[in-house]
Symmetry: C2
Subunit: 690 residues, 2 copies
């Protein structure tokens, strides 16, 4: 059966082979568990599949819901019709779930026990957890272990393995902006499916921003009425989503960003504004200077009502008030605000925000919540139970931790920057990035000391963040997945799990696996490219696109876009990271660094891409939405030609044109909003030093 | 803009060019309208899209629902955020819909007016219909006309065109078996979406058979209780589906097959049985000999109750009682039945079915319905308002028509036979298939005369049929689409629209277009193949599979399958028809019949398939569900080799092995459940006569 064979390759004594470090050909588990011991044997997964439940915690409604999902998911993963067959606890089923205690009260809380152990053998699978959350996590591990037999009868099985697992950090989140582009509930739900699958446990719902107020307030209906263009979640939908999240072991933390990022509050309630207006939601990306007025008592009365309403709706103990990126222009311009500051002895606008936050803190606390905010909310005299979410980085986060505040890291985990998984994977909340360290040293600035064990406890984990300026429901899954799974591993697995090759190998399988949850990272992009191809088969465009990536960071110039700009171009229809290009670039290095790797495979690929780019030029010219990519195809043709020349030159079969390096450098730059990601490999081929 | 350029190629005077016959590069309309005149100009489809409604019929709730779907569908088709913008009727919108009258009463009836005309120009689109149904049909035509600009600014438009359209037949259906494998409601709904898109108007719901009773009866709850393994539609779901169908201009005709195909009635109500039992639903394909007992009065009392209940639930005027394939074994074996026949003077079991049908007819009529049944129900003295559905063929159907009965053709339209679209497309309810005619002539049997004009009126149309022995929800879409669109054209378009090349060209675009409705004919098969490929990228398996087809007819031996046999093999994950193979086989003919077509493209393809089949052998061997396909890959390698040899021999560059023809003939046969569909092309290459 599958796993035994796979493991045999690198593990001489299987029964004793603990994989605390996953190898590139490790089991396709992501995040990698704390301890994995591969053994001999396997249990078939077929139509006779059954489940037993035992332990005091097994009556938890989350367990019941999770157990009901298992046969549905197994059916999808295997194509075998599997129905729910429960066997009385104590008797032997295929999957025996033991949940020791039901110590969790609703709502799920930060730090709830997620530990589980899983043991599979020829006799079946035993999944033990201290409490319900651990069982949910273990069920996902079980489902990841289901694989096709490599020998013997056609079918699926789970190889024998002993796993002990618990998370490194208790706060493992995704922050999703639904303001810049609205994301319908069904898409949010499948995002939660994916999060649960990779053991993320906090959904941070960025519900308001300058571009839209996305939740129904019954107390202040003009918030969504005038601030959302009709695109918002009703409270019934929110309750539905909250139940959905709870069933999957995910906390939901709402964020209402203020006093900045708050333009969408003002069309309905201009009395909250610091400036004179006119008040409109922003229909372009960016941040407005519109601020909530912190000097009026009526503001706090409103917030008391609003936060009270939302605090009742959202059961989580944390409540995020944003607090980032306040441009004090309006506060400086307002005579009444200036007078208020003078009267109260508030020295500057920063102190005014401190005043605002202190007032908000009281309201949040009054309604039974702990406050969360971005770096900027950190100020002296805050209670230690607040949580700081750092978009600025480890230094800011560590500073808070040293002062005794709890914090989570988001810097380095911004998925909208279109960076490769490896880059996010390298970021650790407890490690200063080497580049930053080098920068500080170069600037003769002090390098912050690492946190001591006690301070480290204040680092609760991290949150990936997806800002939606250039993402829409149609391509959201592809913007999140599979990279989010690599970040989830960073938050769950022990710090030493850092092998990038293993990560990419497991990420690929995990990406396929996630599709059985209904995620559309491949299928929707394919449809989008078919739309571009029109009546023609999409294969050639797929191949062309397979080595392209969107430009990185914010260099796509979001300011060129309004909220109604169609995001239907080639750049919108490709994943953030090209696997084909990464693999090619690695193969180039293998060719350059080892005599045992011949150039044939490289030449074949370059020829294929070159011929294909030539062949689709007519399609690019004849489909108006593709025409902008004609120069990309031309650049690709040239790059491939130079790559082949470079190989010919290195193998003594031809000459490389002298200007090759300069041309490749030029073609490595952005072509429109795209990067030809095989350019770095070709650059290596032409560099004489390598 | 797109259409003008496309049309220019074959239409010298665009404004006068009526396309009653679609050319291969015609507009991507399917079914082809009665009259199409392409003109100059176009109207952009962008974020400013608007709709106006006018005419007495525009207040029909179906129009409102259809209009609300338009922006959603346009957004998907174009990637442009389009919201519903209504402009007062009379003022100019992008799409101006005029519905003259609201003469349709609920429920939709056979023959309701579906005529529409559509005129588009630079100024906008005018869609006029006599009545609401026509507007629904015209909206689909409008949506099919939306295409990407080929020149000018990036975006979408509708080219100028004048279309007059109405259907050839008033009854254009799909019969869907949900008994052999249950099909969840959401899949049925998207099937209706697809049907409406290609202007089909009857959904024939085959709700009961030996393998399962799939609808809730409140009067006789043991029907679904003991006869469905829990897989049935509740009446609330049925009502939901009926509303969904009505919104899309589709009638729903329920079928309850009896007295045969009726095993699933009997576990709950054994008193209906002719035989002694034991009574169980059939968990394998095939037909049981279990029959309903036509001799007990209690049977008719039961049927009166049941049909009464269902007649209330289903608003359509037709009610299908099945009546096919009665094996009279039980009737012959039963002493009480034999005694009854003797007493009543019923000569044989065929006459007994006539008696049963007559009694059913009274019940069906009493509950306000017209009876429909398969060929076998035809008997003397039936009222002329019944409808015969013919699975036997034109002769049987024409016979009924000559006798004054209405009929629809299903023979030739069985989608489960895995035949190519061209084969179904060639079948016409009013034309005897040439092969049948030749057969009759050879046997010296009389060839039936064609129907005269009056008799032809009795042919209401046809129904494609999808039997589910070897189809499941996961691959249902791929079993239906795109072939069903070709059949829909046969039922809608004028008889002379028969060009196969045009059909295939438009079918391809229609297939892509249908995916925007959520149909999964490509994406689900891709997922199924990814499941087979496991952790490896699926591309190589896709390429391998792209020239394979499932074996035809019922030669896959359904008897090997039970209702729980996994349908997760390669044969389940490929479309019924290989486009790549069909194109290759055509290219072979072009090469053989024209000196201007060189062999390079053929050699390239053969090399690609051969290398790929070699490359995936390890995957086939290492994934237990794929192992059975090792001989297929080996056969493909050999076929490609021989194909290249044959080309070399024809171009004087090599010799063809003498046994080539015999080998190819052998490899043209089924390999397991698969056919290598490039074999016919290769056979042509090796035949010396060609």
């Amino acid at each position: 059966m599958k796993w035994n064979l796979a493991i045999a390759a690198f593990c001489a004594a299987p029964t004793l082979c603990a994989q605390s470090q996953p190898e590139p050909n490790a089991l396709p588990l992501m995040p990698w568990p704390a301890s994995v011991i591969v053994q001999s044997g396997s249990v078939p997964i077929d139509g006779s599949f059954s489940i037993s439940l035992s332990g005091a915690g097994s009556t938890d409604p989350r367990i019941k819901a999770a157990v009901e999902r298992i046969p549905i998911r197994l059916t999808r993963q295997t194509g075998i019709p599997i129905t729910l067959r429960m066997i009385p606890g104590g008797q032997s089923a295929t999957l025996n779930i033991i949940v020791e205690s039901k110590d969790h009260k609703a709502p799920q809380r930060l730090g709830d026990n997620e530990r589980y152990s899983l043991q599979s053998s020829n006799r079946g699978v035993k999944l033990s957890a201290d409490a319900p959350l651990g069982a949910l996590r273990g069920i996902e591990t079980f489902l990841q272990l289901v694989g096709q037999n490599t020998t013997g009868s056609p079918g699926f099985s789970v190889g024998a393995v002993t796993i002990q697992d618990s998370p490194r950090f208790p706060w493992r989140g995704l922050s999703l902006d639904v303001s810049r582009h609205f994301i319908p509930l069904e898409n949010v739900k499948r995002t939660l499916d994916g999060m649960a699958a990779v053991k993320l446990n906090v959904f941070h719902w960025h519900l308001s921003d300058d571009q839209g107020f996305r939740i129904e307030s019954k107390k202040f209906p003009k918030l969504q009425g005038n601030g959302s263009d009709g695109m918002f979640y009703t409270q019934a939908e929110v309750r539905d989503l909250l139940a959905y999240a709870r069933d999957r072991g995910i906390r939901v933390v709402p964020e209402f960003d203020m006093p900045g990022h708050a333009a969408s509050w003002l069309p309905g309630y201009p009395q909250l504004a610091s400036g004179p207006g006119p008040h409109e939601i922003l229909r372009t990306p960016g941040v407005l200077t519109a601020l909530i007025d912190p000097t009026k008592e009526s503001t706090y009365k409103f917030m008391d009502g609003f936060i009270g309403e939302m605090a009742k709706l959202f059961p989580d103990e944390y409540f995020h008030i944003g607090g980032d990126e306040v441009d004090p222009k309006e506060w400086r311009a307002s005579r009444t605000i200036q007078a208020f500051m003078k009267k109260k002895g508030i020295a500057d606008t920063k102190a005014l925000q401190v005043y605002f936050n202190s007032r908000l803190l009281k309201i949040v606390t009054k309604h039974g919540k702990r406050m969360e905010g971005w770096d900027e909310v950190l100020q002296p005299n805050l209670p230690k139970n607040i949580v700081i979410q750092s978009w600025r980085g480890q230094e800011s986060l560590w500073q808070a931790a040293r002062e005794g505040y709890k914090g989570i890291l988001s810097a380095g985990y911004y998925l909208d920057l279109m960076q490769p998984a490896s880059q996010h994977y390298a970021i650790d909340p407890l490690v200063l990035p080497p580049a930053r360290k080098a920068q500080l040293e170069k600037q003769n600035k002090p390098v912050p000391q690492e946190l001591n064990a006690e301070e480290q406890k204040n680092i609760l984990g991290g949150e990936a963040a997806m800002w939606e300026e250039l993402a829409i429901a149609e391509n959201l899954d592809a913007k999140l997945w599979p990279r989010l799974a690599a970040i989830a591993e960073r938050f769950w697995s022990v710090q030493s799990v850092t092998d990038v090759n293993s990560m990419y190998a497991r990420l690929r399988t995990t990406n396929y696996w996630l599709e059985w949850l209904g995620l559309t990272q491949r299928s929707n992009l394919e449809l989008m490219r078919q739309r571009l191809a029109g009546s023609a088969p999409v294969g050639a465009l797929d191949l062309f696109a397979s080595v392209l990536e969107p430009v990185k960071g914010y260099s796509r110039h979001p300011e060129k876009y309004s909220s109604t700009t169609p995001l239907n171009r080639l750049v919108d229809s490709i994943p953030p990271e090209s696997d084909a290009a990464r693999e090619f670039n690695e193969e180039v290095l293998n060719f350059l660094h080892s005599t045992s790797n011949g150039p044939d495979a490289l030449i074949q690929k370059l020829t294929m891409w070159q011929e294909n780019a030539n062949a689709i030029l007519p399609m690019l010219k004849n489909n108006s939405l593709l025409t902008e990519n004609v120069p990309v195809a031309e650049a690709m043709i040239q790059l491939c030609e130079i790559g082949k020349e470079a190989i010919a030159s290195r193998t003594g079969k031809g000459a490389l044109r002298p200007e090759a390096s300069a041309i490749v450098a030029k073609l490595s730059e952005r072509q429109g909003d795209l990067l030809i990601k095989i350019a770095p490999g070709i650059q290596n081929l032409v560099e004489p030093g390598l």
